[in-house]
Assembly symmetry: C2
Homo-oligomer: 152 residues x 2
């Protein structure tokens, strides 16, 4: 595989899986002395077009975002439908799930990674952009997420 | 507990546990198109004064550091002696172990955290500073590491 497929090595986000986003968000807010940002829920499959391991999935998650220096810490409380969030939480328990990078050219990058033996785990759309989780567990020991913003 | 005991919310480092630091370092170097930084080993207990759960431990680890944007990604391959590294690797498998923050006033901060129900897991000295891992799993779902540099 071509080196530096992502075109960046700047970690933009750390994602942490939790069972109770309200409780853990408040714990972060208290610990770091910042405001509780509240949570939002990912869009339904009709608009998010969520796919997990190649199959359409109804999975959604509650998300809360904290600004921690130059990066974002994301808390994720998944629902019961199949997703990398649900699977990883069931297998590993609460804790870090991914590191994320802001990229351009999602389709080409995902194809290059898949060609290099790093399969797409899950993808979806959100207002203003899209994400893809790549199965980099074997090589990097953590899941990598690609984040692409629409051109303004 | 007082809010914002750390005095910062800037994540300085992410630590990832691995079984084979040479293999995983090379995988990171290849993936991100950067130089393999090589690894170093933590000092022996005589100089590191390593303590794990209140007991002196001979534990050492091989460490490799990658600069990823404004933060450091640390790969950690622990030896077989008791440590938070060994315990977490045995329980959770390879993957993220901690997020680290640069702080001042290590003793006071550790005491304040312990008073707030977040026990010291492990501590040690290194050339130019010291570290402490805090058991924040219950509340924050990830271990927090404090890093203090000696005044220059």
């Amino acid at each position: 595989m071509e080196k530096n497929v992502l075109g960046t090595n700047v970690i933009a986000q750390i994602g942490i899986l939790v069972h109770d986003i309200e409780k853990t968000s408040q714990a972060y807010a208290d610990f770091f002395g910042v405001e509780n940002p509240g949570w939002s829920i990912t869009a339904a499959v009709e608009s998010a077009q969520t796919q997990y391991r190649g199959e359409r999935t109804e999975a959604r998650a509650k998300l809360a975002f904290f600004k921690m220096g130059s990066l974002q810490l994301e808390l994720i409380e998944p629902d019961e439908h199949p997703s990398t969030w649900r699977e990883y939480l069931d297998e590993h328990g609460e804790g870090p799930h991914h590191i994320a990078f802001r990229i351009e050219g999602m389709k080409d990058k995902v194809a290059a990674l898949e060609g290099g033996g790093m399969p797409l785990l899950q993808k979806g759309e959100y207002t203003g952009g899209r994400y893809a989780y790549i199965d980099t567990m074997e090589t990097l020991k953590v899941i990598v997420e690609l984040l692409e913003s629409d051109k303004k």
